[in-house]
């Protein structure tokens, strides 16, 4: 039993739901979160080195925008992340938690490289590129549709399944590299055949392609009957059944599309950017893409912004690491984590506000 009940006070802080928050306020909260997160990250970096906070921001921006090449790379990587997010988006809209972006990109990359490796020099480049395109799109779609079929028919957990498919993909890549690289170095040298020709400069192709995909996805989800079915299935399977939507079919169809777009990312990585493959070729975009999609609350146009921001931070942090002479990437990972965390937390403040206990003086005044 608690004693002195009269001493009990009303709760110190209460959480109250906001409604009707205005856009400027949302932007303000996000800006505070981003600037706050960056500041905190900067302070932590400063703590572990002899440089100052000014250096932190300077290298952050030089890392991303420092030269024309860096700027183009920033845009190119943004577009790849955008492409990956567009692959994940329809699945997420359907509440199919596809954690297998990495695996889907990797197998499609592998299929394209296999075309380059085995056909290089034997047939013309244009034929190889055409085959690479189909091979990677089909491979990506296949990698995504396997978990979808199991989900549709046996209701298996798609998160675990797609995640496991990532490991299989990584294993396949290591296996192929071991077979292909006779020297035993484990590194596949860039292949000169089947390279996709440049448009304008060598960065422009993925940028154009994935912006187009984004526009397509925007229209597909908003105005197509397919997109409508995806939303209904995602929102409530019961409603979908009630109106006669074939849920199995929608899940499988959507994952084919999702995997095919991931396949395009793999195709570009293999044919236009790397011309080779390693187990890290997907650059973890399958997961970073989840970040980009969620932060944009599944809005394709906002995903352009979030992909850009995420790419900016990671590019900038590479430079910070150099300037601050961090020998491993743990600290920069921590820093990136802090920034993400700040953004995620701020969505709480967009939905809720805190009400603190009024000071007793104020109450007396009243």
């Amino acid at each position: 039993m608690k004693k002195n009940k009269s001493i009990q006070k009303e709760p110190f802080v209460r959480i109250v739901k906001r409604d009707n928050i205005k856009l400027p306020k949302i932007i303000l909260i996000y800006s505070i979160a981003i600037v706050g997160g960056l500041l905190l990250s900067g302070l932590i970096s400063v703590l572990f080195s002899e440089k100052g906070i000014g250096d932190f921001f300077q290298s952050l921006f030089t890392g991303a925008f420092g030269s024309e090449r860096k700027f183009w790379l920033l845009l190119q990587d943004t577009s790849l992340l955008l492409g990956t997010s567009m692959a994940l988006l329809p699945a997420f809209k359907m509440k199919f938690w596809n954690l297998g972006g990495n695996g889907q990109i990797l197998v499609s990359c592998l299929s394209a490289i296999a075309c380059m490796f085995y056909l290089g020099g034997k047939v013309s480049d244009s034929v190889i590129i055409l085959l690479m395109f189909f091979a990677s799109v089909i491979a990506g779609a296949l990698w995504a549709v396997i978990p979808a079929i199991f989900k549709a028919k046996f209701n298996t957990n798609e998160s675990l399944f797609t995640l496991m498919m990532n490991y299989i993909a990584t294993g396949l890549v290591s296996l192929c590299i071991t077979i292909w690289v006779k020297s035993g170095s484990g590194v596949l040298a860039p292949i000169a055949y089947g390279n996709i020709p440049e448009i304008g400069n060598k960065y422009l192709l993925p940028i154009i392609l994935f912006v187009l995909i984004t526009v397509f996805m925007y229209i597909y989800l908003r105005s197509a009957k397919h997109g409508y079915e995806i939303s209904v299935v995602g929102e409530s399977i019961n409603t979908a059944k009630y109106v006669g939507i074939k849920v199995d079919k929608v899940i499988i169809r959507t994952m084919l599309l999702s995997g095919a777009i991931a396949g395009l990312v793999g195709f570009i990585l293999a044919g236009s950017i790397n011309h080779t493959i390693s187990t890290a070729s997907a650059n973890n975009m399958g997961f970073t893409g989840i970040m980009a999609t969620w932060l944009a609350s599944f809005n394709p146009l906002l995903i352009m912004l979030t992909s850009f921001f995420i790419t900016f931070i990671s590019k900038g942090m590479v430079e910070v690491r150099k300037t601050f002479m961090f020998t491993n990437d743990s600290i920069s990972n921590i820093v990136v984590g802090i920034v993400y965390f700040a953004i995620i937390i701020c969505s709480f403040f967009i939905n809720y506000k805190l009400v603190f206990r009024k000071k007793e003086k104020e109450e007396i005044k009243k």
Binding site: N20, A224, K225, S231, S236, N238, Y242, V243, G244
Partner: protein, 566 residues
């Protein structure tokens, strides 16, 4: 008798967000040894107010006084220390524990000794006239037994002020009576009881005083003996309303649906619907009564094609008599099959000799609407999915119990919800939002839906408006059969009567309306016949005009007999 005030609320205000003012400046006294009803429509702040006494919410401003002393109640534990206990609408019990274990759960300063717990509960049970088996596990219990455990749990903690949130909503008339006896016994023992309810007849029967809330405001507190149902309704709604349901005699009753020997099993083999047979006619309202979970949901879902069934037949009589056959819903092959069954006649009512006609000629006749059905078309619904049902042109509408989880998509706007039934129409890959948008505007104006515009997410609307959208959409496809499950649950009085009137209109148009309800008074006032389900079986079909509440109540608990009495 001198009255002592045990609980006082002074100027309690509670907001949710900036828009919702759940309670505004409510003041209230509760006396020792009385039953006080808190009456009000859904969403008027009854439960919120009680939750603040029980420590679930904390008021934004105002004071709570117990025995004249101001108290701060921050949690249900604080509430118990002040001898306040609340029995919530959704029971908070552990299914795999026995009644006694549930009662003993969470009591700290006492050794866990089931024997002494048992003894004390038995004493209490005897004192107030409870009937309970303490060793029974919760999952084996009926709703009314679970409620008893909840009450015991609160009493065991020494509560002197008991708050019951809609305690009768899920009980049969007989169970309600025994609950009321218990409540009276507790009142005589000096306990104060607060009942939250929106049922007027119960208020009149059980309570000493009534407090009426409307839109979060305290309207009045009156002595039950000095008021009437009519006066209370006016206080609740804020205006005079006509509480009569205008029931017309069924006209033009044609068989629309025949269910025969329908059995639906759960995956574990348990029969949720057991050999159910009945018929539904156009131009009548068939009420379906029964304790919650007696198979109402499964029955409707089986008819709607949502669930497969194990045995039995569902036959739909398509109102096609004297109407032309078309290729819109039928293939040429199907038309010829029907022709072989001699289903058609020509404009003059004579038989058509299809053998003399070429395929081209037949097609031309169909397109000119010169081939008519002789009788209503008989369609077997066996293994038909909702989509196939639609494609056959069967006009079967269904307003499911779970409005936002099945009938509508909460996060979508009104227009997109209108499309749910019709978006597939046409060959285009893209959606046409023009027609659904017009339909949405029409429903909003005709049914007086309170919404900022047709692009508001339906989740943001109140229960009554959500239901108007759903019913409006289902009626818009001019159904031959309209099935509704608990269509007025959670609705305020005005919205409820809007829905009753809509159902009556449909009935007068010759629609066969199937109405699953929980309020027996409404069922008896609205339906033409009432089918009573008990444990998945039909325990009786009675004439709604001559039956009594007691008769239905008994049928609800009767272990199902399958003979159909009409």
């Amino acid at each position: 008798m001198e009255k002592t005030v045990v609980l006082q609320l002074k100027n309690i205000t509670k907001r949710f967000g900036s828009k919702v003012l759940a309670n505004n400046n409510v003041s209230l006294d509760v006396y020792k040894g009385e039953i006080l009803s808190i009456l009000g429509e859904n969403g008027c702040g009854k439960t919120t107010l009680m939750n603040m006494i029980a420590g679930i919410y904390y008021p934004d401003s105002g004071k709570i006084l117990i025995n004249g002393e101001e108290v701060i109640i921050r949690s249900p534990r604080d509430a118990f220390e002040h001898k306040i206990g609340m029995i919530h609408q959704h029971f908070k019990l552990i299914d795999i524990f026995t009644a006694a274990q549930n009662v003993a759960l969470g009591i700290e300063n006492e050794k866990y000794n089931l024997k002494s717990v048992n003894n004390r509960i038995k004493e209490m049970a005897q004192k107030y006239g409870f009937n309970i088996n303490l060793d029974k596990k919760i999952y084996e219990m009926s709703v009314s037994e679970k409620q008893t455990v909840e009450i015991l749990k609160v009493l065991y903690r020494g509560a002197d002020i008991l708050i019951l949130d809609e305690p009768t909503a899920v009980l049969t008339p007989q169970e309600i009576r025994s609950l009321f006896n218990v409540l009276k016994a507790m009142k005589d023992d000096g306990k104060s009881i607060i009942i939250i309810t929106h049922k007027l007849n119960e208020v009149m029967e059980i309570s000493d005083r009534v407090t009426v809330l409307r839109k979060g405001e305290h309207i009045a507190t009156v002595n039950t003996a000095q008021t009437s149902e009519k006066e209370l309704t006016e206080m609740m709604v804020g205006e005079k309303i006509d509480l009569n349901i205008n029931r017309t005699e069924p006209v033009d009753s044609k068989l629309r649906l025949s269910v025969s020997g329908l059995t639906v099993k759960k995956p574990d083999g348990y029969k949720v619907i057991d050999n159910v047979s009945f018929e539904a006619f156009g131009g009548e309202i068939l009420g379906i009564a029964g304790i919650a979970g007696s198979g109402q949901k499964e029955l409707l879902e089986a008819i709607a094609g949502l669930n497969s069934y194990d045995s039995g037949t569902l036959t739909y009589y398509h109102p096609k008599k004297d109407k032309p056959v078309s290729f819109y819903h039928k293939t040429y092959k199907r038309v010829m099959e029907l022709a072989n069954e001699n289903a058609f006649k020509d404009n003059n009512g004579n038989d058509i000799d299809f053998k003399k006609l070429s395929k081209k000629e037949i097609k031309a006749l169909v397109n000119e609407e010169k081939i008519l059905f002789k009788e209503d078309e008989v369609i077997d619904l066996k293994d038909k999915s909702p989509r196939e049902i639609r494609e056959l042109g069967i006009r079967l509408s269904f307003v499911p119990e779970d409005r936002l989880g099945m009938g509508l998509v909460g996060s979508m706007d009104i227009v997109d919800n209108m499309m749910l039934r019709s978006y597939r129409k046409g060959k285009s890959l893209f959606l046409n939002r023009k027609i659904p948008s017009d339909l949405a505007d029409r429903i909003i104006s005709e049914l007086e839906v309170n919404t900022p515009d047709s692009h508001t997410a339906v989740r943001k609307l109140s229960g009554g408006n959500v239901q108007k959208i759903l019913v409006g959409r289902e009626i818009a496809s001019s159904p031959a059969i309209l099935m509704t499950a608990y269509p007025v649950r959670g609705l305020d009085i005005n919205s409820s009567y809007t829905i009753y009137n809509l159902l009556n209109e449909q009935k007068q148009k010759g629609v066969s309306v199937i109405f699953v309800g929980e309020d027996l008074d409404v069922l008896m006032a609205l339906s033409d016949r009432i089918l009573v389900l008990s444990g998945g079986k039909i325990s009786g079909i009675v004439d709604a005009r001559t039956t009594t509440k007691d008769e239905i109540g008994l049928l609800m608990v009767k272990s199902g007999k399958n003979e159909v009495t009409e």
